[in-house]
Symmetry: C2
């Protein structure tokens, strides 16, 4: 019996690659086992079940993504930081669509087991927004808006939601310009009047 040397970590890594190649929804324990030349049942010694595997991918990916964003943002502020953040975010998602999709799963707090990725990601966002002079609860609102826009854009881009009429990269740049303007002119509280 030849032992391949499976580990939860090696499985997670390979599963992430596989998810990037064929899509997270098509990631299957059988396929992963096949890639290692091993039977499906063998994986259950290392990984609780399919959901567990996906959660592991998500936690690992959110760390990698946050690292990338942190590096990009380091030493920048204002629009520089916004663009660096956004491009790093989008870059990771486009290069690793499967892993990125995993980060969007609903994950219960007890599954997270204190992974640094999510927390640091929030801190990075808030730091960037504070440079625009925002304070709570505007920080939360603007943070939600930014995350929504980034995620929505990438989701639509990856799912082919944009026609091929206009360059997606150009739209992205313009959108970042617009978001910068938005953050600089964030409406003050109780400013809900129209026009």
């Amino acid at each position: 019996m030849v032992r391949v040397g499976l580990t939860a970590a090696r499985l997670t890594e390979a599963a992430g690659e596989l998810a990037d190649e064929i899509g997270l929804d098509k990631l299957t324990l059988s396929a992963l086992a096949r890639r290692f030349g091993v039977k499906d049942a063998s994986l259950y010694s290392h990984v609780k079940n399919l959901r567990d595997l996906r959660v592991r991918i998500a936690l690992r990916a959110s760390e990698g993504m946050t690292d990338r964003i942190a590096t990009a943002v380091a030493g920048r502020a204002g629009k520089d930081a916004l663009v660096a953040f956004a491009d790093a975010y989008r870059g990771y998602a486009l290069e690793h669509p499967g892993r990125y999709a995993a980060t969007q799963m609903r994950i219960e707090p007890e599954e997270v087991a204190d992974s640094a990725g999510f927390r640091r990601s929030v801190e990075l966002t808030y730091g960037m927004l504070r440079a625009y002079g925002l304070t709570e609860p505007d920080l939360t609102d603007a943070g939600r808006l930014l995350r929504s826009t980034f995620h929505g854009y990438i989701h639509l881009e990856l799912s082919g939601g944009f026609g091929h009429s206009r360059d997606v990269q150009a739209s992205w740049s313009r959108s970042l310009d617009a978001l910068h303007v938005l953050l600089e002119n964030w409406p003050s509280r109780h400013d809900g009047n129209k026009r």
Copy 2:
């Protein structure tokens, strides 16, 4: 043999309800057949396969959603129209999460078979944006940004991505305020300088 009276339309409708209840990813032909008291194989006379069923849900849902938006937006312009559009969009998605998820599928042009939903949806968006004085290619860019933000927000909201710290509805309202400001101050072309 008791006939239930299956039709592609009835199946699509029921499948949409089922998807709203249990989630699009858990929508299964077996479950749908069970709901009708029928064997899985029987569905294949009406529907090509699972993907075909999902596409049908998507096309039907995008029509329903567009109707709702069109009604909400009718006779409004500027911020009124923006808020009406956004609330109708979000309202549909929150009430029909399964059907909404279907509308986000990658659908090939030949599968669409000229469904009015998607086209009208684009027209509605563009009409709203023209009221802000935008012209191409800003129309496309702003449209993409709006769609991204709406979709991203709802996706995060539905997937529990927002903590329970601050009221989601309040954040949504503030985001719409901000988007209104953004559209009024849409940066003119070649205005990419910083700060």
